[in-house]
Each structure stands twice: as C-alpha cells, then as structure tokens.
Symmetry: C2
Subunit: 337 residues, 2 copies
C-alpha cells in the first residue's frame, strides 16, 4: 500500500520506513550500492575500499540522560561506519538551526560533538550551517555523514550470513528508547534510565582483530534489536533463532516496558550491536568484546538455523515456546534519534 502523505511511521524505522525506501526512493536512485540497503555504502575509490554513510538527527528532546543530539550525531555515524567493517575517519556536520535557538544550547551540543569525536578518534572536517525562521524547524537538526577505510578481508554484509553462525549482542537493550520517551513525555520513572549512546568502533576493531571470519554486523538503532534481526533474516534468506532469556534488559527498562506496554525488542539503542560469526570463532570474538568498555555484557543470543526462501526471525520465549517475531506495523517511536 502506498500513502499519499508522509506519516510519522515513515520515519519510525519499521515497515513503513522500509516501504518508502523500496517504493519511493529506490526506483529513482537505483544502483547496486544503494540497493543493498545496508547501514553504509562500500565504495572502491582508486586503490582504496571506503565506506560512506549518512544520518540526520531530529531527536526530541535535544538533551536527555546519557547524551544530547550532538553526541548522538557522532555516535550514530561512527557506528554505521563501523558496521561496514570500516575504521571511521572523517565526519561532516550539517546544522539546521531555528531562528531564536539559544546560543548556549548550541555551544553545549557542539562541545558534546567534539568530545564524542575525540573519544571515537574521528575528525569533523567539513560542515554547513543553515538557519530557518521561527517555527520552520524544531530547535536544531543535525546531519552527519562519515567516511571510513575498510581493511578487513571478509565481506561484512547480511549476504555473508551462514547457517551455524552465532549471534553476539554486546549488552542490554532498550536503554536509549526508554530514556528518550521517559524524558520527552515526562513519565517520571524515577529509576535510572539512561541512553546507551556510545561509539562502537573500538569494540568492532577488537572483534575484527580477534577473527577473520566475522560475517555481518548491525547496530540496533531505530526499530530496535527485533527490527534489525528481521531485516537481516530477510536479507540473508535464513531463519534466525534467538533466545529471549539470553537477551539482557536492565531492570528499570524492563519495568518501564511492563508498565507502558513497550517491547524492549523494538526500543531503539544507540550503543548496541549484533555480530554474526561461525560458532567456532565465537569464543575468541566474545572474549575480545568482553574486554572492551562497550562490550562487557556481550553474550551469545541466538544462532542462524538454515537457508530458506523467505528469511524470518524466530524467538524462543522465556516460557519456552517458539514464535515468529515480526516488525510491528503501527507507529514506532518518532524522533528517537
């Protein structure tokens, strides 16, 4: 189905986002690189293999426990580059500012971007600033694009996923989504719910150094762990089985979800990733990840069962049954990143 107007759900990272990309963007922009619909494009330029990615950030509120739109804009793009197997090197920063936006808030945001860039070891090398009249934007929107270099010999892509691969998740899910909604809607959950926004390039470098057989990686941002695993199952044409009991969720986030009816599987993260590798490699990859700051809680959460015509995600629930996980069709959370 095609809508005649843009709906919030077109930006939610779920089914409608998938639909607008496939039905509206791809028919016009069609090329092999974009057609893969991965987090970033892998490019050959001269002798080098690079990755290139972009994201616009429209998160509301701009400041939230664990970060702000500035740190998020750096982490998100650093992570997308990392997921292609790239070493993130250079970022661009494009600002759309609303007339009247407090300069002091802009300074805080820029300072957070600079700190996040330093932690991740990337440079912000080119930028742009636009200002629109009051009411024509909501405070500040930031776009970051990024360029990284790929040295890893393997093809890191859902296309490389194979039956027998195990799936490693680097820690508890749902923190970012819960932190944003709690703050935005003034839900007042007292328990400590803090965004997990973090640069994952160090963690990825450690994993790639530990094994030359990493097949695929994705960060579990908009749409959450559930959406990205469904997409990876479809892209790889495999049945992916995960074990609900093995997926860590922090207590305050679990409580938040129970009260409000959210499923942590579909809450956004900004510092979580999944990695696919053969079972024989998983011990060394897991230890390498656990030794890193953002991988302490890494765990195997499932495995790839078999190749099929229509890939799907199956979850063994806490109480033992198996069910297919599908992407919720309604609106996910808007302006989560």
């Amino acid at each position: 189905m095609k809508y005649d107007q843009i709906l919030l759900a077109h930006g939610g990272g779920g089914l409608l986002t998938n639909e607008i990309i496939r039905e509206t963007f791809l028919p016009h922009f069609q090329n092999d690189l974009l057609g893969r619909l991965e987090d970033g494009a892998v490019l050959r330029i001269g002798a080098e293999k690079l990755c290139f990615t972009t994201d616009s950030y429209v998160v509301n509120p701009l400041f939230f426990p664990g970060g702000n739109i500035g740190s998020l804009a750096v982490h998100g793009t650093v992570n997308d580059l990392s997921m292609c197997g790239g070493v993130p090197l250079f970022l661009s920063a494009g600002f759309i500012l609303e007339e009247g936006f407090p300069m002091a808030d802009l300074e805080k945001i820029i300072q957070s971007m600079a700190e996040a860039a330093r932690e991740a070891g990337v440079q912000i090398v080119t930028g742009d600033t636009k200002v629109v009249t009051r009411g024509a934007a909501d405070g500040v929107f930031i776009n970051t694009a990024g360029v990284g270099m790929i040295r890893y010999p393997g093809l890191i892509s859902p296309a490389s996923i194979k039956p027998g691969d195990v799936i490693i998740l680097n820690g508890p899910i749902g923190d970012h989504g819960a932190a944003i909604v709690n703050k935005r809607e003034n839900l007042g959950f007292e328990a400590e719910i803090v965004s997990d926004s973090a640069p994952l390039n160090g963690l990825v470098a450690a994993a790639l150094a530990a094994s030359a057989e990493i097949h695929a990686m994705r960060d579990c941002t908009r749409g959450g762990l559930g959406t990205i695993l469904v997409e990876m199952a479809e892209q790889s044409g495999t049945i992916i089985e995960i074990d609900e009991a093995a997926i860590p969720v922090r207590e305050p986030v679990r409580g938040f979800c129970e009260v409000l009816g959210f499923d942590p599987l579909f809450l956004a993260n900004e510092g979580k990733m999944v990695l696919f590798c053969p079972e024989a490699e998983s011990d060394k990859v897991l230890s390498a990840m656990k030794a890193e700051r953002y991988g302490k809680d890494a765990a195997v959460i499932g495995r790839v069962q078999k190749t099929v015509d229509r890939g799907r995600l199956i979850m063994k629930s806490m109480i033992g049954g198996l069910r297919e996980v599908t992407i919720p069709s309604g609106e996910l959370l808007p302006r989560i990143c």
Copy 2:
C-alpha cells in the same frame, strides 16, 4: 560581538555566518582541515586524495523556476566537490520530512535528484529518512554529502592565489537568488527569471584539462559573487580587483535588482563559479570553458593585484571609480538554498 540566540543572518552566508563558524564551531572542532574553511575538505585516505563536503538544503519555496530542492541538493554538493578540484563520485542523501508532506511532491523531488545525479554522473549510494511531527519542520529538508577523487596535481585553494592571476566567471550572476525571492514573495516579475542551478563538474573538468596551473575555484552560492570574492581576498591575503562592467547580469535580473534595491553581487547563484589562473593560461582556460554548456558566457572579470596584510576586494564601477566591496552586515536572504 556574540549573540545569545541564533538569528536568521547566522545562516545567510554573510558576516554572521562567518562569525558563528569562527567563534562557535571552530574552537571546538579545531583541526587543520576544517580550519581552512573551504567548500570541502581534502583528505588523504591510504593511497588516494579525496574530497568530502556536505550541505543541508532548506530552500523555500521547494519548487521554483529552474529547479527544486532535489536538483539543488545534487548540484550544490557536486559543485562543492568540483571546486576542490575533485571529480564528484558518490553522494549521500538525508531527508527530514514533515508529517503530512504530499507523497507526490516527494516523488517529484526524488525524481529531480535522480535526474540531476545522472546528468552530473554521480551515484546516490547511501541515505536516511526521518519524519518529524506537523509543524516541527517546513515540508522537507535535504542534506547531501559528497565524496570525490582528486587527481589534479596543483593545490586548488585560495592559498594558491597569486598576484597576476586573472579571475574568470562562467556567466551572469544573480539568477538563483532573484528566482527564489520572486517566487517566494509573489513579486510577480513577469520577465523570465529562472534559477541557474546546474552541475559544474563538466565545466571544471574541462578547465582543469586545459591548464595545470589553476590556482583556485569557488562557486558563488549563498552570499553571491561579492561575498565569496571578499572571502577569497581575505584567505589569500591579496587585493582582488574586479570590473563591474565585465560582470554579466541578465536584463530581467538587473531590472529586478533596480526595482527592489538588491545588489546582484550579493544575490545567490547555484551554477556560477570563479576560477583563478595566471594570465598566461587564461586564453586556453577561457576557450575550454566557453566550449562547455555551463561556460558559454565565461569572461575575465578581474585580476589579483598584490599581496597585502589584509586582503580586500576592489571594484571598478560602471562609471569608472574604484571602491572597496564589503560584505553587507545585515540579513542576506534566508532559505535561498
């Protein structure tokens, strides 16, 4: 002076844009590449020399004579890459859409982007779509970042400008700014005022092929020819003298400016550029440019006089006098690109 709020003029491309970049962004992001404040960053990655640039587009109205926000978003970034001496190869596209935006308009915009990309010979290889609630953005904003490859041996930069260089402009100025304002404000100028939005990479390739001594190039976008020549005079520490009579302005645009009190020197262009090269090279560069679709009206409009402590732009007026051209301090035109 520093303001405590963002003003429209911070995005106008004039003095306040310069100020916010120097006083707010640069102190945090400081690095050599960004510090040059050129249209794009020139990067070494492995064996290759690349250029990387970004621009966000917030033009109002979205559709205007001669193009729309989609074609503009491709041309602007293709041109920024070209001005570094790069061959534009790959673009990213980040969309921020307002809930309720007509899907048919989005399709037209995407189609224009795709056509513009085809004409320029670049691929849109990675993208992102965000949706914000009604009222949180004005229709659609687009960010494009671009990556190009640099093969030209010389350093194309205001730092390479030398006394004796001539300045070549590729055609009449002010068309884009006049077209946008005429449409947005419903001024109803009947005469044909059409944006000059165009990809300049073919023109630049022809010029670079004609001479190995091109010193600097800039596209005359936001702020117009006047602002960018003042900036280039400052960056190169030279006196640049231009001849008003040699600068082409189409009759309808001249009439528009006379009636409304605009100076075409400070009206935006989206398909105009200046090129600096030694006088001895100028004949062959000029003929190469004139042979190209977007260079037919190319002309020498001035020359670089001498090196000084504080670079400035001098203009010989139509009636013969010499005056220093300075960037207007008030608000230029908002949302022109």
